[in-house]
């Protein structure tokens, strides 16, 4: 067996004799260095596992909370075509949440405990969803800028060292890029519409531009997890690198939308081959992360309310399943195969 593949033989559950840990770690490192995928049953460092749990869970939470600002406009969408697009998008986001919770469950945590951490503020979600959707154009700005930033972040995650996360990202990115084009197209229709519609589009871009740039996280010299995540190939590029890439993509797109970006310092730098841009208000970012953004309270309250008010429904489903298990032929006991796979048989 090639050394880089030897990590596949390692068992999980931390049942590794202490003396062997160094060996497993060396095998793990070799696998990561060789760009092999780490899979759920492979040995992995505890810190790698917990970093992934944090990141994937917060990614999943972001999909779920991110439904709210857009769902806010479903009932008011101004045409049936736009309404259908928006409903499909919000549905996709719930689906992305499901993929991601499945991915994180391969690391030995449950969706229920992660949701509980979201509801009690012990795990975060993307800061962007703490901003309100005040006009219809915000739906377009979210598609173009917020989904655009998300894609810039997520495409490199398709090559992330953890297999289940990377595979989830392949599926998510396909749908996200579709949403992003729809958002752009929505803004284009407004921009080319009546003067009132154009103004609505410009106002939305003015409000969403800076929060979108904050989605890439703090500057590299202040990013707590970056170095380790890059060494583990969970991250492939630094926050600042991705932010710059996003800005370079957006400037010409804004021009073709006939909209401006709200940054007087934004200009092409021939020497760097990139756009220079003005300072980001990191004080605002920190406030939003701490829970003091415009909608933090509202978002988490709605999520908790949906969960609490749905408790009786989940209890009913569980009670029904318990009663009718035999009758419906549904298996609850893990089959012998599954038990073996858990390494506990």
């Amino acid at each position: 067996m090639a050394p880089a593949a030897a990590h596949r033989t390692a068992s999980v559950d931390g049942a590794v004799p202490e003396a062997d840990t160094a060996v497993y770690e060396a095998v793990f490192n070799a696998a990561v260095a060789a760009d092999e995928r780490i899979e759920p049953r492979d040995w992995m460092p505890d810190a790698y596992r917990s970093t992934l749990v944090r990141q994937i869970a917060q990614h999943a939470h972001s999909e779920i909370i991110g439904m709210q600002p857009e769902a806010n406009w479903i009932s008011r969408a101004p045409s049936l075509r736009r309404k259908a697009i928006l409903m499909a998008k919000v549905q996709d986001e719930a689906g992305h949440g499901l993929y991601l919770y499945s991915a994180v469950e391969t690391l030995g945590v449950s969706r229920e405990e992660l949701l509980d951490k979201l509801h009690t503020g012990r795990q975060k979600y993307s800061s962007i969803f703490n901003y309100p959707t005040l006009t219809w154009a915000d739906v377009g700005a979210i598609g173009w800028l917020v989904d655009g930033a998300a894609i810039t972040n997520q495409v490199p995650l398709c090559r992330c060292s953890y297999g289940p996360y990377a595979r989830a990202m392949v599926r998510v990115c396909k749908e996200e890029s579709f949403h992003q084009r729809q958002g752009y197209e929505l803004l284009l229709a407004l921009s080319q519409g009546t003067p009132e519609q154009h103004a609505m589009a410009q106002d939305a871009v003015d409000r969403w531009w800076w929060p979108s740039l904050m989605m890439f996280g703090p500057p590299d010299d202040e990013s707590a997890h970056s170095a380790q995540s890059m060494a583990w190939k969970i991250k492939r590029h630094s926050n600042d690198e991705l932010r710059q890439r996003f800005i370079d993509i957006c400037v010409p797109q804004a021009k073709s939308l006939n909209l401006t970006l709200p940054d007087p310092d934004l200009r092409w730098n021939e020497e760097r081959g990139h756009y220079d841009f003005g300072p980001i208000d990191w004080a605002e970012f920190r406030e939003v992360i701490k829970g003091n953004g415009p909608c933090n309270e509202q978002r988490i309250s709605q999520r908790r309310k949906a969960h609490d008010e749905g408790a009786w429904v989940r209890e009913a489903a569980a009670a029904y399943a318990a009663k009718h298990n035999g009758a419906t032929g549904a298996a609850v006991e893990p089959s012998a195969d599954t038990a073996d796979m858990n390494g506990k048989a």
Binding site: I64, M67, Q68, A71, I74, S75, R76, A77, P78, S79, L80, R81, R82, K83, A84, M87, A88, V90, Q91, A94, G95, G97, L98, Y101, W136, L186, A189, L190, G193, T194, E196, Q197, Q302, K305, A306, H307, E309, G310, A311, W312, V313, R314, E315, A316, A317, A318, A319, Y320, K323, H324
Partner: protein, 239 residues
Amino acid sequence: MTVTAHTGAALALGDDALVLSHRLGEWAGHAPVLEEEVALANIALDLLGQARVLLSMAGDEDELAYLREERAFRNLQLVEQPGGDFAHTIARQLYFSTYQRLLYTQLAAQEGAFAGLAAKAVKEVAYHQDHAEQWTLRLGDGTAQSHERMRRACEALWRFTGEMFQPIEGVEVDWAGLQTAWLESVSDTLRRATLEVPEGPRSGAWAAGAGRQGLHTEPFGRMLAEMQHLHRSHPGASW
């Protein structure tokens, strides 16, 4: 717009789908479990797709959806009922999807103007009905609390079920047969869910056919105000 039998029928069926889709869309971000976010949005999207085809048979879909007032809508009162709790939503879905499947099955078998739409829609509504029945069983035969909530929901909406079988001009189906089959199907599901078939009237003086004549319940006007306000605020704009 001149309302002929054909456009009138397209409006009646289209408005049912449009209004129920809107009501289901209100669940987005509020469902009891993530899987239901997906399911309810999925059903809402199917219905919106049906509405767009049907309204387009009668005229411009957006003009019809956004510029008619309450009295010109021909949907059933059942579909405009506010979501209430999850049990109300499921009871509404059970009653309506059973009706829609039986109706579209008949329409799909004919050669009329609605055959094409019905043939496609019947596959969707069979799925909707399955979803509603599965939840009716789980809520009815789940816990004491869910049983009680489902019982109340089924009773509260029962009074709106008679209007479904008032014949729609331009829709040539066996309405009496439809009603018999509907009652049989719904009663069977309720019994399997350990629920009693409600005993109240299904065709009171007000409910019978009222929605089809543009007579709606109070929450409907507010629903339209929300749905139409942006479109109406920008006359002539395209989106």
